[in-house]
Amino acid sequence: MPTFVYMTRCDGCGHCVDICPSDIMHIDKKYRRALNIEPNMCWECYSCVKACPQNAIDVRGYADFAPLGHSVRVIRDEEKGTIAWKVKFRDGREKNFLSPITTKPWGSAIPDFRNEAEPSQEMRDSELLSFEPESIRLDDGGLHTLESNGLKLKEGVYY
């Protein structure tokens, strides 16, 4: 039922509840563990699977079209900056994949503009955004305009 939660692995920490974009991972009041309360609003986005510290959440493909007996498991490691996938087919074949998820330590490279110099009035009056035009082009050129590119806007039927 897209995502589901193994009873013996879940400790009710709520990380999945916190991250689910669809608001469908809830804590069951009787068992104090997580469950998917609305499988037909599950995108199989794996946000909860990746966030679960106990690896307690798995996915069983949508019953409309997916036969039983498969698995797609994942380990996302923020420290190493990698994501590892294991795909198991119904007939037992396996495929493994490993990809990077970031090139920098988490959050280390994001600018807080409160620590940066204020933009000048000239820049405020221009069409430029932050760090432009250097962040668009490597040469000394400015922002593209209709004039710089020899264009005009004309009403009518043109293709």
Partner: protein, 631 residues
Amino acid sequence: MKTIVEDNIDILVVGAGLGGTGAAYEARYWGRDKKVVIAEKANIDRSGAVAQGLYAINCYMGTRWGENNPEDHVRYARMDLMGMVREDLAFDMARHVDSAVHKFEEWGLPLMKDPKRADLPEGDIGKGAYMREGRWQIMIHGESYKPIVAEAAKVNADKTFNRIMVTHLLTDDAQDNRIAGAVGFNVRTGNYHVFKSKTVICGAGGASNIFKPRSVGEGAGRVWYAPWSSGSAYALMIEAGAKMTQMENRIVLARFKDGYGPVGAYFLHLHTYTQNAYGDEYESKWFPALEKMVGKAYLDTKNQHFSHKPIPTCLRNHAFISEVAAGRGPIHMVTVEAFQDPHLEEVGWENFLGMTVGQAVLWAATDIDPKYINPELTTSEPYVMGSHATGCGAWCSGPKDISGDIPEYYWGYNRMMTVDGLFGAGDAVGGTPHAFSSGSFTEGRLSAKAACKYIDDGKAEGINVSEKQIADRKEEIFRPLETYTVGRNEIVGGTVSPSYILPFPGLQRLQKLMDEYAGGVTVQYMTNDKLLNMGLHKIKILEEDLEKIGAEDIHQLLRAWELKHRHRTSECVIQHTLFREETRWPGYYYRGDKMKLDDKNWHVLTTSQRNRNTGEYTMEKQPLYHLIDEK
């Protein structure tokens, strides 16, 4: 339930997907002392259409490598959308978009590099040009695209409110065409949240699940666009009185069957191709008849392949739909050739694992290894959104230096709608297809700079929101809980009541109505004036019933309001589809009573405005200005 008021906000970002995060980030750059607040329905780290990740950034000019200029992208979008683009806004997005992508790389997003182009000049952020998937697309390892970009928004916003379903925008009591903030509720605590703000940047999403999906059981969740995209961008803006544009321009996607796994990398990078069930190429044989429908300017059977024009997305859909209707389906993607190359095989799989895991789950479940079996494709149910190969959204002002001489396109502040102080990004901005993730982020940035200027120009002085407006909205928002509690006492149990309908049955009614009357998948995307008028009547009755929607708990209250947003979006879609008396995009939908493209009467953009008091729509044609060479 408590009422929590956040006051004195300068810039309120409603919905923090790629558009909203761009807005919050850039707002701090131009407004150092401004109060920037985010209201997000889910958790900003995994919200919006990019929650799951992406394997490509589909809008990157590569101006620094001499690859494309902004006008090249405008011409491409114009061709793909059969001419219907706000070219001023598209040019503006395209001239800025590369700077967003370069920042993403600086923040740690892994962009793939092309080893063949490592000799290109070294910039401030890494050596060599990016790996191209196609002319506009670059390939990325984007599993963490959203959490990385969310960090930039969180660092620069004063406050981020997660789990707030924004239901309505607030307007100034004295000037009801001026924005004053927003209200909603926390989907976990049930608290009522009031945001009083000088400006609002609407970054909420487009609409999945308004047309009946092909999979109606559990698989209804595996829609192409995220199931949490509830059309809130459109409903919030329409109800605030904003003028909307191109809402008829819904999109249908040709994708891998059932999982809706993306095909872009397969076509462009893996060079896979399609064939019918009998192994034949089928597209070209439908083109001569199609050429007669749309005209030679849009499809030139003889010369198209020799020109620089790709075949528009909708026209390729048309060939697909026609071939299946002729009894030669299913259509297959031929993968067995490309997948013999281990590198391309890896790309093919990681493409799904990075953005549509459900397709990998499905192939594993059905023992489909594309190295040996050519997978099936299908055409999806329609979606309403504004950042892919479609341009639904609000009618916005362009920037002065591009749009300044065109009164219909310019009223002072870039990306401001026809409601003062209301700005937008991503799906919210109309007429700007092919923005995708990077372009939506860019539109957020453009909006934020303009919103700061609007405030600095003194346009947001003296806004007043009465206690009555706030109290009335509160009563309205929580009414479904009351309706349920009262009605529930009448019946023994179950979900059937004569006094209320629950959100899910209500959603199914909307989907059936849109499917059958407005050109969904079960009628082969066909509609006409009679059907649309009947649809409008039924949607009005549904609106009356939605006054009696019941919600058992706070989670159902969320679904109730999502349904109301989907309903309002749908109503606007029908109004627009009825207004445009032609078939502009065969393969997206057909007006059976007007089966030809009609440039004489309909080479225009459509706009609508819903009267806040009467609910009546005013439809208009707006002029189309095209970018042409000065000479």
